[in-house]
Symmetry: C2
Amino acid sequence: MSILVVGSVAFDSVKTPFGEAKEILGGSASYFSIAASFFSPVNLVAVVGEDFGDQYLDLFKSFSVDTGGLKRVPGRTFRWAGEYGFALNEAKTLETQLNVFENFLPEIPERYRNSEYVFLGNIDPVLQREVLRQVNKPRFVACDTMNYWIQSKLDELKKTIEFVDILIINDAEARMLTNEPNLTKAARRIRSWGPKTLVVKKGEYGVAMFMDGSIFGAPAFPLEEVFDPTGAGDSFAGGFVGYLAKAGSLDEQTIRKAVIFGSVMASFNVEDFSLNRLKRLQPSEIQQRYREFKNLTHFEVDASF
Amino acid sequence: MSILVVGSVAFDSVKTPFGEAKEILGGSASYFSIAASFFSPVNLVAVVGEDFGDQYLDLFKSFSVDTGGLKRVPGRTFRWAGEYGFALNEAKTLETQLNVFENFLPEIPERYRNSEYVFLGNIDPVLQREVLRQVNKPRFVACDTMNYWIQSKLDELKKTIEFVDILIINDAEARMLTNEPNLTKAARRIRSWGPKTLVVKKGEYGVAMFMDGSIFGAPAFPLEEVFDPTGAGDSFAGGFVGYLAKAGSLDEQTIRKAVIFGSVMASFNVEDFSLNRLKRLQPSEIQQRYREFKNLTHFEVDASF
């Protein structure tokens, strides 16, 4: 089933201890789309400037990403510059130029409006609701956000969250959103606002998923070479929603598998700059790493001692 | 099989956002011993002062902890005072009084010298080697340490580590020990110094275990009420080594189960001050939580999509 994603498409300039790259394709919707496309076709809604070359459109198209909703308007594409220290755990933003993204008003093309799976990337919560207004009763809505919206538009964000089935945020955001340091308590509170399921991304510490009567914990894949963490969370969301749309089921075991497929996509994405690793990724590698995740976490059931 | 543990026995004064307790039984060897005793008999070697009342000896004895190696000498027992902030992730040390612990020279009683399982608690690495000199070829040696020894006695610590089968430290210590932020690389380096297996405790983020050709990752048990984190790492080590001694095997699946039993003991320990939760813990609760850990981490094997 097709997935509708609305978010940012950007040019990033990234510096890590291992190298530097300027003006490379980035943005939440780019990472999400390419990662999700390994599982299901994707309909992309975003805005770019006149400097966004056809080669990028061709890239999306080659990954079954429909770019009919990717508007090219006068002006420059959104740009972000950031730097990671030795520990690679947090990006220091050096520069943000919103450019054409500043006046982004998502318009969902007619043929996208029946998408059954919707992912609201990290944009203004008012616009996220505007997207939901334009679609026809999707089966499933997942949503991301960030500290900026939690601090500046908390009430709007809470209104959006009401309509979301699965909220996908990181642990610092979950704590900030609730002013509660205990993640399990924070999760309970967020779920009381609407989302049946909360997925909390913890970077190198993996993922925790909270749903009715059950919690699922998965470690991150242990990598010796993390080259560039940019886009890890969005690749996770892409693998997660992509697998759910492919599987066509929303039962607990399917959602748990989706968490692992999301983790697999994130683990590949951080192995190179931009979408470079995903561009050369093979489905057999995804399946292989999924099995490695199983081996990573397996222990015997017998509880006697 | 019996376990020999050498470490500290202390009186702690602890303040958390949920309460305060003064002069309560603590110390790495206390937490280790009581946690391990649920699985195997423990021989305790430590030093206390004249102020260490018989009621504490009785407590140890009631848990099959042999206190023949717990020396009571003139002076006061080791004291530690610490405080935890709202996030409970790190103790702020308010006061340390080494007292009789300052001149601790471990003497292993004759009847402990054939202990097959040895746990070297967090003491001077020179003394840890002195313990090993006094025992007769144990089947298995596990060892803890802390940032203080990494900074002040790195060479001595590396000499000790050479003789250790399983090193059990936290993630900050693993990074500090190797000056390497990537945990997987740090683990490879530490294992090249001697220990076949490295267990890295990550607090609320669980445990990673590194051994030949395999990594095991386990989340921490998600608790809504963490009352006092003091002793979590030592309770983990107690459950871990305790289960290994009970199982009598050191194959990979047994060690993975030991990680889970260690995590179970740590998760109970943080539910109350001092050893209060472990004192009222039932074996059936341990088995129940082990099964909950299985449910927490389970996902289906099939990697197709």
